[in-house]
């Protein structure tokens, strides 16, 4: 990967990840998080958006013991250490599910669906999961 990084040096694009699915039930959330972590090494301008059931990915108190799934939610707390600090959550998705910022394991910015649309519009690359 070091060769690639040399080649891409200096190119900074706005890279947006859109997470729309619940953390368990499908593998999308986990494999999205893996891309975010690997992608952090490329020093891009990263935003991570959570909407629809994707807001559940950040829910506090996830307990996966009974389902024998790996609880990967603590990893979201590590994102800050990877300089992934722009986390946006769609307000309408939170409201529909009765969630508030206090229910989430990391500090986020809550944005209206119109603002989220603008954030997406501003990105050079969107990876949706």
């Amino acid at each position: 990967m070091s060769d690639e990084m040399m080649e891409d040096e200096g190119v900074v694009k706005k890279l947006g990840y859109v997470n729309r699915k619940a953390p368990y039930g499908t593998v999308y959330a986990l494999e999205s998080l893996e891309v975010v972590l690997i992608g952090a090494a490329f020093d891009q301008d990263v935003s991570v958006i959570f909407m629809d059931d994707g807001v559940y990915q950040l829910k506090k108190g996830q307990d996966t013991k009974a389902s024998e799934m790996k609880n990967f939610s603590p990893t979201y707390r590590a994102l800050e250490g990877y300089d992934v600090e722009k986390l946006y959550v769609e307000k309408e998705s939170m409201d529909t599910r009765g969630l508030s910022a206090d229910d989430l394991i990391v500090p986020v910015e809550i944005k209206s669906s119109e603002e989220i649309m603008q954030i997406m519009e501003d990105q050079d690359i969107i990876l949706s999961f």
């Binding site: 690639e4 992608g39 490329f42 999961f129």
Partner: protein, 130 residues
């Protein structure tokens, strides 16, 4: 224009791989460039040479292999996703002590960095998923 393609679903259950294939073909026919095709999530299952679809149906894997051969496409299967789902090239088979490999011609296994690079290097990254 330079395109990169990401495919998130396996063959046959979802139409994502079909749509991605037809889009990729159209891109090339219009004289544009494909920087890379990246297979992620169940999309890695597009890269097994062991599928045998009915003869009157499209052969999704073979179709990708042929397109890669004809246009020298860089078709990358994500290593982490592939390991979970049993998509193995000779190198991975050796590294993880498997008794065989199953990667189809034209595909190769590499890291997620290739996806990020595909986004950075291309003018457009188009995601085909569910």
């Amino acid at each position: 224009m330079k395109f990169s393609i990401m495919i998130s679903e396996g063959p046959y259950t979802h139409q994502a791989s079909d749509s991605a294939y037809l889009f990729t073909k159209a891109v090339l026919e219009k004289g544009h460039e494909i920087f890379r095709v990246f297979f992620y999530h169940d999309g890695v299952n597009n890269g097994t040479r062991l599928t045998t679809p009915p003869q009157d149906d499209r052969n999704i894997v073979k179709r990708w292999s042929e397109l890669a051969e004809a246009h020298k496409l860089d078709m990358v299967v994500c290593v982490a996703a592939a390991q979970r789902r049993g998509i193995v090239d000779p190198e991975e088979a050796k590294r993880n002590s498997k008794d065989t490999d199953n990667i189809a011609p034209g595909f190769h296994i590499s890291g997620l960095g290739q996806l990020i690079e595909a986004g950075i290097q291309a003018d457009r990254l188009v995601v085909f998923g569910d």
